[in-house]
Amino acid sequence: MALSPKLVREFDELVTHYPEKRAGLIPALHRCQEENGGWLSPETIEDLSAYFGLEPVEVFGVASFYPMFRLAPRGKHLVSVCHNISCTLRGAEELLAHVCKVTGASVGGTSADGKFTVVRVECQGACANAPMFDLDGVYHEDLDDKKAEHILRSVK
């Protein structure tokens, strides 16, 4: 495996934004994750380490530090339910239970059909519109069970 020519072109431009190449690592990890089904495989970590001239363990050390990087495969869609204080005060735990019921996934797990992975996340900065979840990178706010169910059922 190697990075696709498209990503290499992107990264060649990306690293010109910084005086040191390594600064592009975290944005590059994001792009690889987006292009590779929402997770970073050991091969991807090795490809990036080759590109940035770092040891694989160094890249792994960065990837594993940040909660947004996933080091294991996930379902087709990722539902991240905020469980921090402002959301909890307005029903985040009830929302999470409902999300699990609708998707068939347990918290931290993937539904049997591989369609949904559901996770708890810390504050997403949507406190004035609580409770909320992030579905594949898009915020859905001011949720109640009905609205959440409608959104999740509309996903292909």
Partner: protein, 440 residues
């Protein structure tokens, strides 16, 4: 509440407020034009920022003009210099910078230009938390538009001022909102805060002079430059000038992000802005400025909301992220959730923080489940005092210790009751927070 002048959220009512055309229709890029065409000297810009009294809006409330003046003399220090904009908004309850970035991104771009000019910075990096995808996309689009219009890049507005602005995406770590953690992360590393000194102005990004400012802070700069320090000081109170964005969440009728002048009481904000406590219930307590600021009891509701008054009342103004709790809220449950966050977000470098946040969380968790021991309550206090202040590389340990001490101080009886009854009488009827998982 008296009428007051607004400016921060003035432009966002317009359709397509995030585009260059609409920003210009509303007077955008006039401030940088004034700076470059007058021309004002960089020192003049710093002087007006100092005179305005603007204090940083990222939590600490440090005077912005003074921070800018810490950058070394360009004649004696040839290193490139940088501005880093802290858009890693992650303090629980805080959701204000997002409004500016999503709906008025050119205001931030113009602010970056002014700040870079004043500090002779070569480039600005806007470090946006990874989850804020719309903020990132809107800012990137604004930078692209501005670059095409000759407002970003080389020879801006035909002058010899050149400045780049780059977007940079974080990846979900709260600690990267700490300025030295942010710089490590921007350099492509784990977000481990650096010991200070050296301070960023002496040695920051890539060992070069760097200033880190919050989004809302930078967003204020064009207004101050264009309208003047006297105008800015005409709003607010003498030591906290201008307006601020107040994110209101929790048990209120009208949660939202509001532009307010300093000097209102928390009661005025709760009743006249947030529509009061929901469901006809009574106020029990509130966090005045995010979950790391000490919880205040309902009896403190007449505190005046400015940096110094909140501090004098025993808490902190923080990011003005007010979280209100009604009479049905269980303080042990609230603290379990609050400490779960700091436990999760500790970077692990300092043992006081790595272990302390975890132990505090475990104790709040067991008290909230009726499994606490009587000695736990004093142990919370002694642990928190062992973590802060100033005992660790950064202030995350303080962020966990401060609300812990405040909660025990104001609500000790509630913790004692949970221990004695072997259950929390105010526990929610739904499933409680999950069992604790493994350590860091």
């Amino acid at each position: 509440m008296k009428e007051f002048q607004r400016y921060l959220l003035d432009r966002i009512a317009a359709a397509n407020s995030h585009t260059l055309a609409v920003y210009r229709q509303q007077g955008g890029y006039k401030a940088i034009e004034k700076v470059l065409k007058t021309p004002l000297k960089p020192e003049d810009v710093i002087t007006v920022m100092k005179d305005s009294g603007l204090r940083g809006r990222g939590g600490a409330g440090f005077p912005t003009g003074m921070k800018w003046s810490f950058m070394p003399d360009v004649a004696k220090d040839p290193r490139p210099r940088y501005l880093a904009v802290n858009a890693d908004e992650s303090e629980p309850g805080t959701c204000k910078d997002r409004v500016l970035m999503e709906r008025d991104p050119h205001g931030l771009v113009e602010g970056c230009l002014i700040a870079c000019y004043a500090m002779r910075a070569k480039a600005a990096y806007i470090y946006v938390r990874g989850e804020y995808r719309l903020s990132y996309d809107r800012l990137q689009a604004a930078i692209d538009e501005a670059r095409a219009a000759g407002l970003v890049g080389k020879n801006i507005l035909g002058t010899d001022f050149s400045c780049d602005i780059w977007m940079h995406k974080g990846a979900g770590a709260y600690i990267c909102g700490e300025e030295t953690g942010l710089m490590e992360s921007l350099e492509g590393k784990r977000g481990h805060p650096r010991p200070k000194p050296p301070f960023p102005a002496g040695s920051g990004l890539w060992k070069s002079p760097t200033t880190v400012n919050n989004v809302e802070t930078i967003f204020n700069a064009p207004f101050i430059v264009e309208r003047g320090a006297e105008w800015f000081k005409s709003m607010g109170v003498p030591k906290s000038t201008g307006n601020f964005l107040c994110g209101i969440s929790g048990h209120v009728n009208k949660p939202g992000v509001y532009e307010l002048p300093f000097g209102l009481t928390a009661r005025q904000i709760l009743d006249e802005v947030a529509g009061g406590i929901w469901k006809g219930r009574k106020l029990k307590a509130f966090f005045p400025g995010g979950s790391s600021t000490g919880l205040m009891p309902a009896s403190a509701i007449d505190v005046v909301m400015d940096h110094d008054s909140v501090k004098a009342a025993g808490s902190m103004f923080g990011t003005a992220a007010m979280i209100f709790l009604d009479e049905t809220a269980s303080i042990p449950q609230v603290m379990d959730v609050t400490l779960r966050f700091y436990d999760h977000e500790s970077c692990g470098q300092c043992s006081q923080c790595r272990e302390g946040t975890q132990w505090l969380h475990q104790m709040f968790h067991r008290i909230a489940r009726g499994k606490g021991k009587r000695e736990d309550i004093d142990l919370l206090v002694s642990l928190a005092n062992g973590m802060a202040p100033g005992k660790t590389i950064c202030a995350l340990a303080d962020a966990a210790a401060i609300p812990t001490l405040a909660a025990v101080k104001h609500f000790r009886a509630e913790f004692e009751q949970c221990v004695e009854l072997g259950r929390d009488p105010l526990a929610p009827t739904h499933a409680p927070a999950p069992e604790l998982q493994g350590a860091h």
